[in-house]
Subunit: 184 residues, 2 copies
DNA sequence: TCATTTGCATAACAGATGTTGTGGAAATGT
DNA sequence: ACATTTCCACAACATCTGTTATGCAAATGA
């Protein structure tokens, strides 16, 4: 289902995948939009509740959260493909679009907490956590897109390397005593 | 046309927009895929050849190139909406997907040149230009996506601010004499 | 001027899609 | 055990999609 994109998410395809018929779907979802919304919520929830890295605190925790967004495994790649595919439908529908805005805002908020925690530990430069979180989210989001379109050019190792370079630059921006906390 | 997404790019819609009929389109394009390819090439070409910022050299030139990718104007927003919408179709089609990989690789190459130039001027930290370009492209790409879904949260001013913060961190990563060349 | 080709509107077609019944089987309650 | 409701398979539907076929008018060339 990650292969045919979001446009290929048809009632009959879903029913076939489920070994059922369209009758079942129409019985549970009044319209297709409801099914789409449910599918997206399910994807988000599943992504949120999957086994996550949680190895440390401060900068390491922030790094873990960002690593969890990258298509480093085939499952994560599939999820991200579906996610990116769904942007088409989302941009066409203002309500869905707003929903996405909220979801990404929530994600930024979660990142902000880790940013603030890293700052308190002195592992991250001072600055508005929300801004730093927005920047980090942008970086990872864009990396996801590039990795999806050119998997050969962005193998997991390079994705991690790019992220670590980004984080290293984030630690000590201007003048600093060069606290170096880049892992791997 | 930027409103209905890429899925809504139907032959009849295009024909209507063109005050013509499907006969014209089938006469010029053997199949719809050909039309899609043409549309995407046209979009890329138009994006590439539109009036661009070119105010300076070195770091300023790099910044200009990145600013040109952001949805800072309504036209740029429309272009980016179409672009992001098209990712759905592209991910479903391996040939299109590879095409996108090439286009983004070309974009990274263009960025790399500016990165190298900025490095030669001593305005940017040492490092593989290709890596720095890939990182910058990721950052901007992700920022585009976030700005499209939450225009209110990412007004042009904030986009520019985030980009400048990113570039500032890029200038002086570890130990440095803090050459500060952030504009605006 | 006439024959031939080109350019495209119009219509028809097959396939797919979301949606809406209809009917029957299973579950549920009494 | 029976009545009633829930659940869903199946089929029909109207609509929209890309594609193909037909035909006519304008352009083109001799």
């Amino acid at each position: 289902m990650a292969a045919r994109g979001f446009t290929g998410l048809t009632l009959r395809a879903v029913a076939a995948e489920l070994d059922a018929t369209t009758g079942l779907l129409t019985h549970y979802f009044p319209t297709k939009r409801a099914l789409v919304e449910y599918a997206l919520d399910l994807l988000e929830q599943r992504t949120l509740s999957r086994p996550r890295r949680d190895s440390g605190r401060g900068m390491a925790a922030l790094r873990d959260a960002l690593l969890d967004m990258l298509p480093l495994t085939s499952e994560a790649t599939d999820s991200n493909r579906i996610w990116v595919s769904s942007w088409d439908a989302a941009l066409s529908d203002p309500a869905l679009s707003a929903d996405y805005g909220r979801k990404y805002a929530a994600s930024r908020d979660r990142l902000s907490e880790r940013v603030a925690a890293a700052q308190e530990l002195g592992e991250l430069r001072i600055g508005d956590p929300a801004e730093i979180a927005a920047g980090a989210q942008s970086f990872v989001l864009g990396l996801v897109v590039q990795a999806l379109f050119a998997p050969a050019a962005f193998p997991p190792q390079r994705q991690v390397q790019l992220l670590d370079d980004y984080l290293a630059a984030l630690v000590a921006p201007d003048r600093s005593d060069a606290r170096q906390s880049a892992q791997r």
